[in-house]
Chain length 338, copies 2
């Protein structure tokens, strides 16, 4: 099949690789209808994560089940499915407690920017739509594989509550989905910290009531001004750098929780400050499967439209251009059609 | 008055110092009936915190109000009061949100091992008992100034829940009070991590259902064995060292929260592990005043008896011996009578 591979920082190619096959009787093979590029794919692209030259990349996809293993019971060939980027059995104690991203049978989507994906624990991992979805729904369904569920996890972890003030740090797709989540969970004031005009506009469309373009000291000051010097009830940290995390702990009000979902890069948590100000930290890799049924219903009902984060659609052949567009911040998020 | 002063690591003296006086109209002066030595007093005693030579030390006390400022309205001369180690107005937005330890008018007990204490924001800070308490209640009332409320904060922050498994790291007075708190909040299994037989016995008396004497890898293994490999629902971190914190994040189950209340010393939080395992951190300096009315009722009703953490009572003159006894772990906690 054709699949996206990474060979060195900045070196993204569409390559011919062997088709994935059923390796365990609980596996399924899904033919990708749409995949996309994640902000986290930019870490290796920019040389910030180690690269195994020639390995496939991409972990977000939706598609149609093409083949199932002998032990797959509920998922059928022909089902249109959302593939959570972390696979899970959905029956182990962690899954039953809602922590499907830490499943005892954890697996991963390894070729989301490709024609085919192997899914481990297909019955546990996959959620099928009711029939083939309308093409217009595809982008929003695709966000459920990662970014919308991840933004949701930030909001849940930071305990967004009705009537509260939520600040979203990060205007990438996850941050923008965090705005949607904060709104759905009832936050009255939603502040998007964003310096980019088109992203600010999308944040407002998604429910942000305020935009703060400043960063660091000036950004903290702006949030403190907005909250009467008290700080935010919830902070959604959707970046994962030391700078953004430090800001998060300064703007959360005492007793609040920073919800973090960006894989931490170079972060040193300010434990002393957390202690003195009683600002906690929760979150981590999102339990996508846990949130999927609820989020799928919200998308199908038209209640949320996270697919708007895709501002560039390319054929899979142009995946390298997709990476460049995201790296240069010309695109928020790139959808790829095989 | 006579007050305990610290001059260098290991150098504790009872000195003559000027009486504290009303400095602001919201102050009160309390004559100490009982004070005590805190585990955190051992940090400077052992040279782990900087020392201002000759400064008073001690932040836990109960006593009788001797003098009030012109603006003090609800607290009266002659009231027997518990003095939270952090003073607060109990009216600012942080106080109203339950975060009295981060009050806009934060103040501190600066001479708890002495004859007199100045209390800032007396109306906000102090909680008076209904008449003079029976002498037998004094030790338990004294724990409400810090350790019982701090153990409670660990339990609340780690979201102890009915039927759950709570692990308490640390067998000092705060950890032992954490056991009481976990029991009161309904934990079904309470594991005290303790290597010291008398403390293990007290932990069991307070409600611990299990004791784990091992530390580090062996301790983690013991907790995993106890929880069927899942980890604890709640971890109360009542020490504050890097070693104990690292253990805490290994034994909390995915989705759980480590409640920390020991002032962190040399702690580097394992942010990557927290992310991957979705184990959060909450807590900090305990909002003692917030919990006081509830805890006072539990003590007066005889429902809890945290005063048992005091296993040595000395006259104030022998405060230096009290420090030695705690430093050498001959005593869990030392009560001082002026």
């Amino acid at each position: 099949m054709r699949a996206t591979t990474i060979h060195a920082p900045g070196d993204i190619r569409l390559s011919d690789v062997p088709d994935p096959t059923i390796e365990a009787p609980t596996d399924a093979i899904v033919r990708v209808v749409a995949g996309c590029i994640c902000g986290s794919d930019l870490w290796p692209y920019r040389g910030a994560n180690p690269i195994e030259a020639g390995s496939t990349i991409g972990h977000e996809a939706v598609g149609v089940v093409e083949e199932i293993g002998a032990d797959v019971r509920t998922i059928k060939k022909g089902d249109f499915v959302v593939i959570p980027f972390v696979h899970c059995d959905n029956t182990c104690p962690h899954c039953l407690a809602g922590m499907t991203s830490v499943c005892d049978h954890q697996g991963w989507t390894e070729s989301g920017q490709a024609e085919l994906v192997r899914v481990n624990q297909a019955d546990g991992s996959l959620v099928a739509t009711d029939g083939l979805p309308d093409d217009a729904l595809i982008p929003s369904l695709l966000t459920l594989a990662d970014v919308m569920a991840t933004g949701w996890h930030a909001a849940v972890s930071s305990r967004v509550r009705p009537g509260g003030t939520a600040v979203v740090i990060g205007d990438g797709a996850v941050g923008l989905c965090g705005v949607i989540a904060a709104k759905e969970l009832g936050a009255e004031r939603i502040v998007a910290m964003s310096r980019h005009e088109p992203r600010q506009a999308l944040a407002r469309e998604f429910g942000a009531t305020h935009v703060v373009a400043e960063r660091d000291d000036a950004g903290v000051e702006a949030i403190m001004d907005l909250t009467g010097g008290i700080g935010a009830d919830s902070v959604l940290e959707c970046v994962g750098t030391d700078q953004s995390m430090k800001t998060a702990f300064r703007i959360g009000r005492p007793g609040s929780t920073v919800g973090f979902v960006g894989a931490p890069h170079g972060v040193e948590l300010p434990v002393r400050q957390m202690f003195v100000r009683n600002v906690g930290l929760a979150g981590g890799m999102a339990p996508v499967r846990t949130y999927l049924p609820d989020l799928l219903a919200r998308v199908v009902d038209g209640r949320i439209d996270p697919g708007k984060v895709f501002d560039l659609t390319l054929p899979l052949e142009q995946v390298a251009e997709g990476y460049r567009a995201m790296d240069e911040r010309r695109a928020v998020k790139v959808l790829l059609r095989p």
